[in-house]
Amino acid sequence: MLKRIEDWNYYELLSVERTASQDEIWEGYQAALATYKDGSLALYGLVPEAERELVLERVQEAFRTLRDPARRREYDLALLRHAPYFPPKAAFRKSVGKVEIDDAPPPKPGFWARIRRLFVKNP
C-alpha cells in the first residue's frame, strides 16, 4: 500500500518477488543501480540528490543481504513477522476464455478421458 521510501523492504527496492532466484536478484540489483546511480536520467526532475544517495545506499545494503543465503533467511524471517507474504495470483481468470495464454498450463483431461486412459492402451 502506501509506503515511504524508508519503509520499502529489500525486495521492493530491487523490484523482485520474495521468491526471486539469485539471478533475478542480480538482475534487479543491476536495474536499481542504473536507476539510482549518480547522474541518472530516470530521476531527472523528480527525485532530489540527497534522496537518491539514500536509496542507493539501501539498494546496496539490500543486495549484500539478499545475495548471502544465511543473511537472506534471517531477513526473510524478520520480514515475515510483520508482513506476511502472499504470492502473486495468476494473471488470468476463468471468465476470460477468449484470450490466448501462452504461459497457461495445458488443460487437464476431463473425468471420462482419465477413465478411458485407464482402460484403453493406445487412446
Binding site: 515511504r4 523490484s15 536495474a31 536520467l41 530516470a42 526532475g45 527525485v47 494473471a91
Partner: protein, 312 residues
C-alpha cells in the same frame, strides 16, 4: 463489442507520439481489425501527413461545429484497408480552446464510434483537454525519449494526470475543499504525493482510501522512443519503476522503439513508415508493443477509472 480506446500522449513535443499512433493504427489495420485514428492534437494536427494524406474536409472541426453531424461521418477512409482517419482541424485557433460542452460531446462520440479500435493522437502538454482525453482511454500510452527534457516533462505530465484524477474524484464526491488543500500541499509546499496521502489518511481515512483507490486505477503505459542503445532501453524500465515508487501509480513499461533514419526519409517522401518497413527494428517494436497490449489479459481485465466529468 470488445472496444479499446488507445490514447497516445506525453509531456514533450517531438517524442514521436503521432509516429507511434499512425504506425500502431496501420499495424492493427493490417491484421484485419477496424481502426479509427483520431487526430486529437488540437494545436498542431499532422497525423494525416504521417499517413501520406492531405488536410481537408470533413475534419474534427466540422464535427465540433456541427457541419458533420457525427464523428462517424467525420472519419474518412484512408488508402489503407480497415483504417479510417478523423483529421485534425485546420481552424486551429477555434479548436485549440475547446469549450467544455464540446469536449464532453466529443468524448461521448468517441465512445460511441462503431469500431473496436480507436486511437487518439494527443497533443503535447498538460491542458485539461489533453488530460481528459488521456484519462478517458484505456490504455493510455505515454511516449518519451531518452533525454532529460523529455523525462522531466514525462513526470510533469504524469503528475498533472494524477492531480486531474484526484480533482475529478474530489468533485464527484463533493469534497472540493480537499482540492485546495492538495494544491497547497503538493504544488506550493512541494510536498510529495506520499506526504499528502499520509496526512489525509491521518485526518480523514475514508476519503484518503477513496482517493488512493482512484489513483491506483490510473494505469498508464510507457514507451521509450528513439532509443539508440541498451542503456536507453533500460532507462524506460527505470522511469516506470520510479513512477511506481514516487508517484504511487501502476505504470507498465511496454518497451522501446529504436531510432531509425528511415523514419525521416518516409516523412519527407510523404509515405507512412510501417507498410514500407515491416521488417525494420522500429516496426517490429511497434508490432510487439501492440500485440502485447491487444492480447494482454491484464489489459482486458483492466477497466479505466470511472471518471465523470463535471458539467460546466
Amino acid at each position: 463489442m470488445d472496444k479499446r480506446i488507445w490514447a497516445i500522449g506525453g509531456g514533450k513535443g517531438g517524442t514521436g507520439k503521432s509516429f507511434i499512433a499512425a504506425n500502431l493504427g496501420l499495424h492493427l489495420a493490417s491484421l484485419d481489425r477496424q481502426v479509427v485514428l483520431l487526430d486529437a492534437d488540437l494545436g498542431a494536427p499532422n497525423l494525416h501527413t504521417l499517413l501520406g494524406m492531405k488536410a481537408g474536409h470533413p475534419d474534427l472541426g466540422d464535427f465540433l461545429t456541427g457541419v458533420a453531424p457525427s464523428l462517424e461521418e467525420a472519419a474518412v477512409a484512408t488508402p489503407y484497408k480497415n483504417l479510417r482517419l478523423v483529421r485534425g482541424s485546420e481552424n486551429i485557433l477555434f479548436i485549440a480552446n475547446l469549450p467544455h460542452f464540446r469536449k464532453l460531446r466529443l468524448l461521448r462520440q468517441i465512445r460511441q464510434l462503431e469500431t473496436p479500435n480507436v486511437i487518439l493522437d494527443l497533443g503535447t502538454g498538460s491542458s485539461y483537454n489533453t488530460l481528459d482525453f488521456f484519462l478517458s482511454a484505456n490504455p493510455g500510452v505515454v511516449v518519451a525519449t531518452p533525454e532529460p527534457t523529455a523525462i522531466e516533462n514525462t513526470y510533469l505530465f504524469l503528475k498533472s494526470c494524477i492531480m486531474r484524477v484526484l480533482k475529478l474524484y474530489m468533485d464527484h464526491y463533493k469534497i472540493r475543499d480537499l482540492h485546495q488543500r492538495m494544491l497547497d500541499q503538493i504544488e506550493k509546499n512541494s510536498q510529495s504525493l506520499y506526504g499528502f496521502f499520509k496526512s489525509l489518511m491521518e485526518t480523514d481515512r475514508s476519503y484518503g482510501t477513496i482517493l488512493y483507490r482512484a489513483l491506483r486505477g490510473f494505469r498508464p503505459c510507457l514507451v521509450m522512443n528513439k532509443t539508440r542503445d541498451e542503456r536507453d532501453v533500460l532507462l524506460g524500465r527505470s522511469v516506470a519503476d520510479v513512477a511506481r515508487k514516487y508517484l504511487l501509480i501502476d505504470m507498465k513499461y511496454l518497451g522501446a522503439v529504436p531510432y531509425a533514419d528511415d523514419v525521416q526519409a518516409s516523412l519527407r517522401g510523404l509515405r507512412p513508415y510501417y507498410p514500407d518497413h515491416r521488417d525494420a527494428a522500429a516496426a517490429r517494436a511497434i508490432r510487439q508493443m501492440s500485440e502485447e497490449m491487444a492480447y494482454s489479459i491484464e489489459f482486458t481485465l483492466r477497466t479505466p477509472p470511472e471518471i465523470r466529468l463535471p458539467e460546466a
